[in-house]
């Protein structure tokens, strides 16, 4: 594997391996000195054409805990303002000698395009309304930690499915791991077509909340409210917000996930966000570990990301000096 562009790049065996690896990196992160020399001398570039706080910090923290060097490319202060194309930017930074590029862009497909232009490993950190595979990884890892497995888990994804790359990647990965996903949203916030999506749908959170193990709340993208997809925020909250009253009707073992940033009082009420079964903080902590796992897989492990991990066999030209 030369990059991580889509949740579909990882089959269930690879995901199991990723989760195992993430456990190792969680342990690293819990140490007094949370840093290993695994990627010393490697350079990771974070190239964010769209605003981001947690994803960018999470990737940079992950790279630094692996001892990689991090180059941060801020579109606001770069030559992009002088009209440089994405391709020229990629060729410029590649000429400096880099090993991985973490890309976020407002247009779907940019990371895949970037991967064609460079030999560096490309990680998709969110492209338009298309995919956000590392978010799906950390969500599934968080659920696996909590429930042991995603097989048979009932998951409701609630909110602005239409504009959500998180929903697309999560639906793909969660259902690949055996969970059954229900999308909950008003018709205006559903994608135009759900053909081929392995999901059920509902337009009432009240109908679904009591029957699921996981309520996954998407951020209400307030910047899109001008498009008259909902009459008002109040109406959205009244029908789709996870209020204390709705949260009380969930199964006692059920958990609440949110990719952040939260709009308290819109899709999630302030008191619900503080409940012990709201795993938002675990998601952030696990995010660093799974991104360490991704970078390690791409740059350090020397193994192809393939289902059978019988890779203890040394390559022919390297002497096995384990011991």
């Amino acid at each position: 594997m030369t990059g991580l562009l889509s949740a579909a790049d990882l089959d269930p065996d690879m995901l199991a391996e990723m989760f195992r690896l993430s456990e190792s990196f969680l342990e690293v992160s819990s140490r007094r000195i949370p840093k290993v020399p695994a990627l010393r001398g490697r350079t990771v570039v974070s190239l964010f054409y769209e605003d981001s706080t947690r994803t960018r910090l999470s990737f940079e923290t992950a790279a630094k805990r692996l001892s990689a060097d991090v180059m941060t490319f801020s579109v606001g202060t770069s030559s992009v303002n002088k009209g440089e194309s994405v391709r020229d930017t990629i060729e410029t930074i590649e000429a400096m000698g880099i090993d991985a590029i973490v890309v976020r862009h407002g247009c779907a497909g940019v990371p895949a395009q970037v991967a064609q232009w460079t030999d560096a490993a490309v990680v998709n950190a969110g492209d338009g309304a298309h995919e956000h595979p590392t978010q799906a990884l950390l969500d599934c890892f968080t659920l696996q930690q909590r429930f042991g497995s995603l097989d048979g888990l009932r998951i409701a994804i609630v909110g602005d499915i239409r504009h959500s790359r998180v929903a697309r990647s999560d639906v793909a990965m969660m259902s690949a791991l055996g969970a059954s996903v229900t999308l909950v949203a008003p018709a205006t916030l559903m994608p135009p077509s759900l053909e081929g999506w392995p999901v059920a749908t509902s337009s009432s959170l009240d109908d679904v909340a009591g029957d699921v193990d996981v309520v996954y709340l998407l951020r209400m993208q307030t910047e899109r409210m001008g498009q008259h997809l909902m009459p008002s925020m109040r109406e959205y909250t009244a029908r789709f917000g996870l209020t204390a009253r709705r949260a009380a009707r969930m199964n006692p073992d059920a958990v609440i996930l949110h990719p952040g940033p939260m709009n308290r009082g819109v899709e999630i009420s302030g008191e619900v966000a503080e409940l012990p079964n709201a795993l938002v903080v675990d998601q952030v902590r696990n995010g660093v570990a799974v991104r360490m796992a991704v970078l390690w897989w791409l740059l350090g492990s020397g193994t192809e990301l393939v289902p059978s991990v019988d890779s203890a066999v040394p390559t022919a030209d390297v002497e096995d000096d384990r011991g």
């Binding site: 290993v36 350090g300 492990s301 020397g302 890779s311 096995d320 000096d321």
Partner: protein, 150 residues
Amino acid sequence: MAERNRGLDDVVLVGLQTGGVPMAYRMAEALQRIDGADVPVGTLDVAFYRDDIGLRPVLPEAASDMPFDLAGLVVVLVDDVLFTGRTIRAALDALADHGRARSVQLAVMVDRGHRELPIRPDYVGKNLPTRRDEVVNVTDEGVDLGEMVK
């Protein structure tokens, strides 16, 4: 071990993933039997500290588990086979990230020679002269010596 450290009060065993881990638990049992001492056991995975990252596939076996603060302790690293010494080098680096032990010693079941680094064991189960291309496999039943399968 008990003689050299004048008792086992501050001694902990740290097994290296994966071969050293069962060995460390067996040693802890033995020390319990012989000395009545309760010696804590930790485990350490050194994959991220290896110096051959990028030269060959490296995968961690399992997360490390160090249920004690190393400060002031005597750490005995435990592994099944000592060969080039590179795993032990990586283990010393890994250990330093967990804390500052008072001293570090090394116990191995088999020392098969061919060291590439200035590392020597403090406790050895068996010295086993080998050719470089042979493979040593330590199991509960004993030690296997075979040809490397390429």
